[in-house]
């Protein structure tokens, strides 16, 4: 299925290597908290509308509090996206190093 020079037994070896562990740990440290955060931040919107409809209907400047909260979801989404894009450059470098080394070792 794969056209890559990596041999079957290499996968387990690679999974145990410190560099690979560093990559997956770094990814997990970003992705898990970010996911929990965005799901909670998002669900707070419908839950607070359900729990306190009067408060959420109140005007604050030109918009209702609910509308401000909804617009803040756009900002939250884009900020988190940019943060991930920046952070992922580091993951790309780590992954590229692992790929390069693995292919080099197999050839040599």
């Amino acid at each position: 299925m794969s056209h890559h020079p990596v041999e079957p037994q290499m996968w387990e070896t690679l999974a145990d290597e410190p560099e690979f562990r560093a990559l997956t740990t770094a990814r997990r440290r970003f992705v898990i908290p970010a996911t929990i955060f965005f799901i909670l931040y998002y669900l707070t919107l419908p839950v607070s509308i359900a729990v306190a409809p009067q408060v959420m209907s109140r005007q604050a400047g030109p918009l209702s509090i609910a509308y401000w909260f909804a617009l803040s979801q756009f900002v939250m989404t884009w900020v988190l996206m940019i943060a991930y894009i920046i952070r992922a450059r580091g993951f790309d470098l780590q992954a590229a190093r692992l790929r390069h080394r693995e292919m080099h070792e197999v050839k040599g």
């Binding site: 794969s2 990559l23 997956t24 209702s64 909804a70 756009f74 939250m76």
Partner: protein
């Protein structure tokens, strides 16, 4: 009266996309070319294509109609559908690109070997795509027959279905991609023009615009469209809005036609870039839905867009007497009323007519029709790959057979799915099929997402877990929707229109229970291989 211009504009779109299809047909001589456009779509291009794949008529006409009528509560859909992309970006896009080949089932069966898992995953994809496709095609029939009374709804459904089959079976993924990119461009331009025109009516003063939206005349009183509670109200409405939110946010990461787009790019990095672009484009569009919807309410008048009392009555009535829906709709339409949920769809074209006259209105109608076309094309190629690759190649033929056979099956599936979708849509065109979109999202969130996430992250996840998770997610979603108020009316067994709050936990629990009951040594042994490949791209399909 605005029939000729909108037909001409739609014909121009069709002509351009057919030229693209002829140009793309040279790439469909191999499966890789047919399903993935040789994985040579760039990240930015794919971002536009995802936008075109995702922004359906439900997004354009449905949400603007809901906002025009229900204000803030309609905007909740826009918010959920944008935030949902974070799940795609953070959890799914890159590992999927690194571990899959043609379909979502490739990722799931990477370590859950065996034909049954793949067949169930293929079945889940086929049911989601068919539900979604029928909802879109029935919608196209209704929109066209209302906008252009000379064109009957079955003809519109037939045209959409036929064009979809032509794009996919001749032009494969490359043609589908470009149809989606062109449509995304048209849709964003339309949204931008309408937004600017709306603001121009208020002297480009946001304050004046929002002030008007906070006091929209409704009969003898005024309605504040900026406050929540017009669509979802009471205790049931509270649960419904939370349940809907869950399904929207998780469901997107399990939509097979969206996931398939990640196999068209060369690397995981390009997959990430494409989600980021889609998030910007889709987000800008969803911000515009507020201006278009509230603009329609303030400038066209809420009363002209729909009448809530009649509409609410009509929905309940149609739920009980579906066979009379069509006659009732026509009667309501004749009286100037538009039925939300079933046909909450004309706010944008009406607004365009008010702002720019019949030509702009015709343009908006043609863009809406093009929008449906691009979405159903994406669905058709996804259904085609799920049947040909997952069910035929891997389940029926157990990996046997040559390229010619599989390409023939893929094309034939597109034709069969097209005929099936046309026939079902024409048969169901008088029924309220809005629940099918909710069903597609609920199944995606409940059957696909738990299995995708556990495949990638839980060593002890097993074949039994995958099958139990997918079947329980699928079964509970189906059962809850079919017994919900949207289908059963006042005597519903399940109290909510949106089953996510029950069916999503059911999918996760099914997957966990199945894995604990039926452990899978092979799946555990292959876990490291999956992890390494997902994180580094070593051995990924090129």
């Amino acid at each position: 009266m605005n029939a000729p211009p909108s037909i001409v504009m739609f014909a121009v779109f069709v002509a351009i996309t057919l030229i693209v299809t002829v140009w793309a047909s040279g790439t469909t001589t191999t499966r890789k070319g047919f399903y993935t456009a040789h994985r040579r779509i760039g990240g930015v291009q794919n971002g536009w294509a995802i936008t075109g794949d995702y922004l359906s008529a439900a997004s354009f006409l449905g949400i603007t109609g809901l906002i025009a009528f229900y204000g803030f509560d309609g905007f909740m859909y826009s918010v959920g559908w944008l935030v949902a992309y974070l799940a795609v970006l953070l959890l799914v896009a890159e590992p999927l690109r690194n571990t899959g080949k043609y379909t979502m089932a490739d990722l799931i069966s990477f370590r859950l070997r065996g034909r049954t898992v793949r067949a169930v995953a293929g079945l889940s994809t086929l049911s989601i795509t068919l539900f979604y496709m029928i909802a879109q095609m029935v919608g196209s029939g209704l929109i066209v027959s209302w906008l252009i009374p000379q064109v009957p709804d079955y003809l519109a459904i037939g045209v959409v279905g036929t064009l979809m089959v032509i794009y996919v079976s001749f032009g494969g993924m490359l043609a589908t991609t470009w149809v989606q990119i062109i449509k995304a461009g048209l849709l964003l331009v339309t949204a931008f023009v309408l937004t600017v025109l709306v603001l121009s009516r208020f002297g480009f003063s946001l304050d004046r615009f929002l002030h008007a939206a906070s006091a929209v005349p409704t009969g003898n009183t005024v309605t504040n469209l900026l406050a929540p509670g017009l669509l979802f109200h009471g205790a049931r409405g509270s649960w419904d809005i939370v349940s809907l939110g869950l399904a929207l946010v998780l469901g997107t990461a399990g939509l097979p036609h969206l996931l398939m787009r990640f196999f068209t790019v060369p690397t995981a990095k390009a997959a990430r870039t494409s989600v980021a672009w889609a998030m910007v484009l889709v987000g800008v569009f969803y911000l515009a839905t507020s201006f278009i919807g509230l603009g329609a309410a303030t400038l066209v008048g809420r009363e002209h867009i729909g009448q809530r009392y009649y509409a609410g009555q009509a929905i309940g009535y149609i739920a009980r007497h579906p066979q009379e829906a069509h006659a009732l709709n026509q009667q309501l339409a004749h009286n100037g009323f538009i039925v939300p949920l079933l046909n909450n769809n004309l706010a944008a074209p009406l607004l365009a007519g008010t702002l720019g006259g019949p030509l702009l209105s015709a343009f908006v109608a043609a863009v809406a029709f093009a929008a449906i076309l691009a979405v159903v094309a994406g669905l058709a190629i996804t259904a085609s790959s799920a049947f040909a690759h997952d069910i035929w190649f891997n389940f029926v033929r157990d990996g046997e057979g040559n390229e010619t056979e599989h390409l023939f099956v893929a094309r034939a599936t597109a034709v069969v799915v097209g005929i099936l979708a046309i026939a079902l849509s024409i048969a169901l065109r008088s029924y309220n099929v809005a629940f099918l979109v909710g069903l597609a999202f609920a199944v995606a969130a409940s059957a696909n997402v738990p299995v995708i996430l556990f495949s990638l992250s839980w060593r002890r996840f097993s074949r039994g877990g995958a099958i139990a998770g997918m079947l329980s997610g699928l079964g509970i979603s189906l059962a809850a929707i079919l017994t919900s108020p949207i289908v059963m009316g006042a005597h519903a067994l399940f109290p909510l229109d949106n089953p996510g709050i029950v069916s999503i936990p059911a999918g996760f629990l099914g997957a966990i229970a199945g894995s604990l009951i039926w452990p899978d040594a092979q799946a555990q042994a292959l876990f490291d291989r999956l992890r390494v490949r997902a994180a580094t791209g070593l051995g990924a399909e090129v």
